[in-house]
Symmetry: C2
Subunit: 391 residues, 2 copies
C-alpha cells in the first residue's frame, strides 16, 4: 500500500520512520511521496513540491496530511478525497472546522477519512469514544486535552517557576510552538473538544469562536502557590455535557483536589474521561503528544484501512442547541480593579486576593470575564472543584 | 445475534444489562440463555442449568463465559468452540493456562475466541498491545494489573490502616473475594502478565507455578509508613522483558518515587505500560475492575465479532527461554530472623529495620526469599526503584 506524506515535520518524520520499520514492511506499506514546500531542498527521492503529482499517481492509495493549520491542509485533504484517496490526519484545527465536509467527501468518493491522532495523540481516545458509542449514549466528556499547557502548569507547581520561564523551557524542548497561542489560550483544547463533541453527539459545531474559552496566559506563581496551599492543583480543562436537545461546552482553568487523577496528570500527559448512560466513567490516559505516540496512531489508521477495519459511521446531522446556562459553577477571579459589582448577582465574596463567585452559569461567567479583561488585561479566573468540573 | 451467558455473577449480570440497553438492541443483540448452577432457582426465562441446551441451540452464535475459575470454564469454552460458537471470556485464570488450546480450537472450527476484558478490565489493554504489535516489537511490559491489591495499598498509605482492616473493607465493597488469595498473593497479576507476555512474544507460558511471584499478604503499616517517609509508594507490580531468545517475568511489591504515574495510581485503578522498539513507551490507565467497565469490554468483543473486526492473529508457537537472571534489582527484606548470610553475595547492608540487598538477579532473590519465609512466615520483601522496575 503506497502512502504519500504531506509535510515533513515531527508527525510526518515519525510516520516515515515507522513505515520504514521491518514489521511494517512485512505489512507492505511504503512511502511513495513526501510533499515539501516550494523552493525547499529535495533531500530524499520521495520528496516533491507538486501536490498534483500525488493526486494523479493512481498507485498512491493513502494520503497522510501532516502540514498542520487550515490552508492549504483543507484544500489538499478535499482534493485527495475527491481523487479517491483515503486521508489520515492529526490536524485538529482543520478537522474541528471541516469534519462534516471531509466525512461527506469521503463517503461520496467511497474512501476513508480517519483522524485518531488528532485528539489525545498516542491515546486511543477517538477509538475509545467511538467504541463506547457502539453501545451507549455518551452524555459528557471532560479532561486535560493539551500536553503543552499541562507541562507548563505541572512545572510551575513543581518548581515554582514563572509562566514565562516555563513557556521558554517548553519551547526549547519542542513542546511549545514559537507562537504558543493555540496551546496556552485554549484554542487547541477547543479544537479537540469540538471534534470529541461532534462525534459523541453526532453534531457539527465547526465554529467555536463564540464558545467560552479561557486559557492560562495570565496565571502567576502566586496563583499556583495559593492553590497549592489549599491542597488544589490547577489544570486547563475542556468539558462538555449533553442534556436533552442541549449541550454545553467550555475550556477553562479548573482546580482539582490533590488526590484526583486530574491533579496527578504530570508533564505533557493527557487525561480524557467520558461518561456513558450505562457504562459510567471511562478514563483515557497517556502521552498526548510526541513524535512516536502520534505517528503510531497515524500508522494504526493506515493499517485499519489496509485491513478494512471501518470506524464508527457518523453524519454529524443531529441538531443540538448550545446552551450557555446548562451548567453553573463557582469561580475565583483575580483582577487589580474592583469588579465585585459586575458579579453582584452571584454572591461575590473576597477570598485572599481573589473574588469568589458562586453558582454562575458558565456562559455568563465567561461573558463577564471579557468585561473584566477590558479593565485589567492581566486578570485571571479559575473554576472551583464541582460536579460540573469532572465528567 | 443470539448470545448465551455462562454464569450470572458481576460480569454476567453486567453483560446482560448492557445487552438489554436500547442502543445495543438496535445492533440486534439478544440473550438466548443464561447458564446457572444445578438446583438454583430459575428466576428468568433465559435461565437454564443444562449446558447442552446451549451447545445444541444452532441459533446461539456467541457464548460469553462468566463462570470464572478453571473447571468447568475450560470444558465449557472448548465445547462451545467445538460446536462452532464464538467464545468471549474475562476469565484470566483459564486463559493464562489454556490460551493456546482455545486459539487452536477456535481456528479449527473457524470461530473467534476474544478476551479483551481478561486483562485491565475496562482498559483496552489487549487491543492496545495487539495494535502496537501490528507495527512494532514489544520488548517489555510492566504495570499495576490488580485493582484489589492497589486499593488495599492505596488505603493503607492514605489512612494508615492495617492490611487486614483494609482487606475486610475491600471484601465488604465487593472488591475482594471471600478467599482473597488470588488478589493479594499475586496470582491474578501473574495470570494477566502471562496472557500479556504470551501475546507480546507469541509464546505459550501456560504455567507460572515456578515463576517468581511475591504478594502483599505480609505488608504492615510500619512498612508503608517507612516507605512514605522516604518519599516512596509501594505497588504490586507485574513485569516482563524480552531480550534475544530469552524473557524474564516477575510479580512483586515495588517502590516508586512519589511523583511517578505508578505511585499516583489510586483506588482500584490499573496502569499498564508497554515499550516498543520504535514507538517507545505507551501507558494504558483506567478502571481495572467493576461490573460495567468489564462488561463493556466483553460486549465490545461481541460487537467486534458481529462487525467481523478480527483481532491480531497469534499461534503462540515461538520458543523463548525464561531466564531468571535477565534483570537484577535492589531489594529491601524485612525478617525477624537474621538472614544477612543468606544474601552475602549481594552486598547486604542494614537499612532501618530492613536488610538492603543489591544487584541480585530477580530469580535468585525470589528463590532466597522462599528460604527466608521458611524461617519467618511474616517476612516481607520489596523491590527498589530501578530501570528494571518500570517498563
Amino acid at each position: 500500500m503506497k502512502i504519500a506524506i504531506l509535510g515533513f515535520g515531527t508527525v510526518g518524520k515519525g510516520v516515515y520512520k515507522i513505515i520504514k520499520k521491518a514489521n511494517v514492511q512485512t505489512q507492505d506499506l511504503s512511502v511513495s511521496h513526501i510533499l515539501i514546500r516550494k523552493n525547499k531542498a529535495r533531500l530524499m527521492p520521495e520528496m516533491t513540491d507538486d501536490m498534483n503529482e500525488i493526486l494523479n499517481d493512481s498507485q498512491t492509495e493513502v494520503v497522510v496530511e501532516a502540514i498542520g493549520g487550515i490552508e492549504p491542509a483543507h484544500e489538499y485533504i478535499l482534493a485527495a478525497l475527491k481523487h479517491g484517496k483515503h486521508v489520515i490526519t492529526a490536524n485538529k484545527a482543520v478537522i474541528a472546522r471541516y469534519l462534516k465536509e471531509f466525512t461527506e467527501a469521503a463517503d461520496q468518493h467511497n474512501v476513508k477519512f480517519y483522524f485518531e491522532a488528532s485528539v489525545g495523540g498516542g491515546i486511543p481516545w477517538i477509538q475509545g469514544l467511538e467504541k463506547a458509542l457502539r453501545i451507549d449514549n455518551v452524555n459528557s466528556i471532560s479532561g486535560i486535552f493539551n500536553g503543552t499547557s499541562n507541562f507548563i502548569l505541572d512545572q510551575m507547581s513543581r518548581n515554582g517557576e514563572s509562566f514565562i520561564d516555563v513557556l521558554k523551557k517548553a519551547q526549547q524542548l519542542g513542546y511549545a510552538e514559537a507562537d504558543p497561542s493555540a496551546d496556552i489560550d485554549g484554542i487547541d483544547v477547543a479544537n479537540k473538544l469540538c471534534i470529541s463533541a461532534d462525534i459523541a453527539y453526532d453534531i457539527d459545531i465547526h465554529d467555536h469562536q463564540n464558545l467560552p474559552i479561557f486559557g492560562i496566559r495570565n496565571i502567576t506563581c502566586a496563583d499556583v502557590k495559593y492553590f497549592q496551599a489549599k491542597g488544589l492543583a490547577v489544570k486547563l480543562i475542556g468539558r462538555t455535557h449533553q442534556k436533552g436537545n442541549k449541550f454545553d461546552y467550555v475550556v477553562e482553568p479548573t482546580l482539582f483536589l490533590d488526590r484526583t487523577l486530574e491533579a496527578n496528570t504530570p508533564d505533557n500527559y493527557n487525561l480524557i474521561s467520558l461518561n456513558g448512560d450505562t457504562i459510567g466513567k471511562l478514563d483515557f490516559f497517556g502521552q498526548g503528544a510526541g513524535m512516536f505516540p502520534t505517528a503510531n496512531a497515524v500508522v494504526q489508521d493506515v493499517l485499519d484501512i489496509k485491513e478494512s477495519k471501518s470506524h464508527l459511521k457518523r453524519d454529524f446531522n443531529k441538531k443540538l442547541e448550545y446552551c450557555p446556562e446548562l451548567t453553573k459553577g463557582d469561580y475565583l477571579v483575580r483582577s487589580n480593579v474592583n469588579v465585585k459589582d459586575l458579579f453582584a448577582d452571584f454572591q461575590p465574596s473576597v477570598e485572599g486576593s481573589y473574588l469568589a463567585v458562586h453558582q454562575i452559569p458558565v456562559g455568563k461567567m465567561h461573558q463577564l470575564m471579557r468585561t473584566v479583561l477590558q479593565k485589567d488585561a492581566a486578570a485571571f479566573m479559575v473554576s472551583l472543584p464541582s460536579q460540573g468540573a469532572v465528567a
